[in-house]
Symmetry: C2
Subunit: 131 residues, 2 copies
């Protein structure tokens, strides 16, 4: 697969998982998280290590999220052999509220050729007054 | 190099660059940033793409940082071929102030065998009152 096709594949996977999560359903991400995922949540100080810990955390949030629409801004995919690093800005709209985030997802091609996320880092964008 | 040795190498590189930056000197990071680095700064919404853009930003901060001491907490290095993903919590002390951050650094082994950072994501840990 050439670089452009791989970038399209990765971005499509991410959007599919994100659109499910935006309706309160974490299953899209859980299907593409690797067993050895490490995960930084925007609201949690400590990293979650390993699929089971991330799954427990996500399932505790099930049904609590409802994003009406979103924009994935400036996605870039960098590739290093069997790793693909996706980074982007995310804007999520909930009624009149807007959440702005930065996102890094490290995908890795597994032995079964499926791409899965082995590291995830979400962070909230703080406004100047919060700096 | 086995996984344990590589993890030690990566963490040692990171600490060396970080300790320079803590004294206001970005040169340690600039020496190990790859040409195609993408960089999420904790205080900036937009990603900086490419070494020259990151360098200009870092040089604008030169001499403005003085961290008296720091703790790198729970560093983990995950490897995928020629990529090594380091993630950790960072606590930085400036007088009586404490800054808490999360950090992701994606290192990649370059054609000259040097490990360099191709993606960096720093984020501030927001206290519950800021959520």
């Amino acid at each position: 697969m050439n670089q452009g096709d791989l970038a399209t594949t990765i971005i499509t996977m991410e959007k599919k998982a994100l659109e499910k999560l935006n309706k309160g359903n974490p299953s899209g991400y859980l299907e593409i998280y690797a067993n050895d995922i490490t995960y930084f949540d925007p609201f949690q100080e400590k990293r979650f290590d390993g699929f089971e810990n991330v799954k427990t955390f996500y399932e505790s949030m099930q049904g609590t999220i409802y994003i009406e629409h979103y924009e994935m801004i400036d996605p870039v995919v960098q590739t290093v052999g069997e790793a693909a690093i996706l980074s982007y800005n995310l804007v999520s709209h909930i009624g009149n509220d807007i959440f702005r985030e930065k996102c890094t997802e490290v995908y890795s091609q597994q032995p079964d050729k499926q791409w899965r996320i082995i590291h995830s880092h979400w962070s909230l964008i703080t406004s100047p007054s919060e700096k």
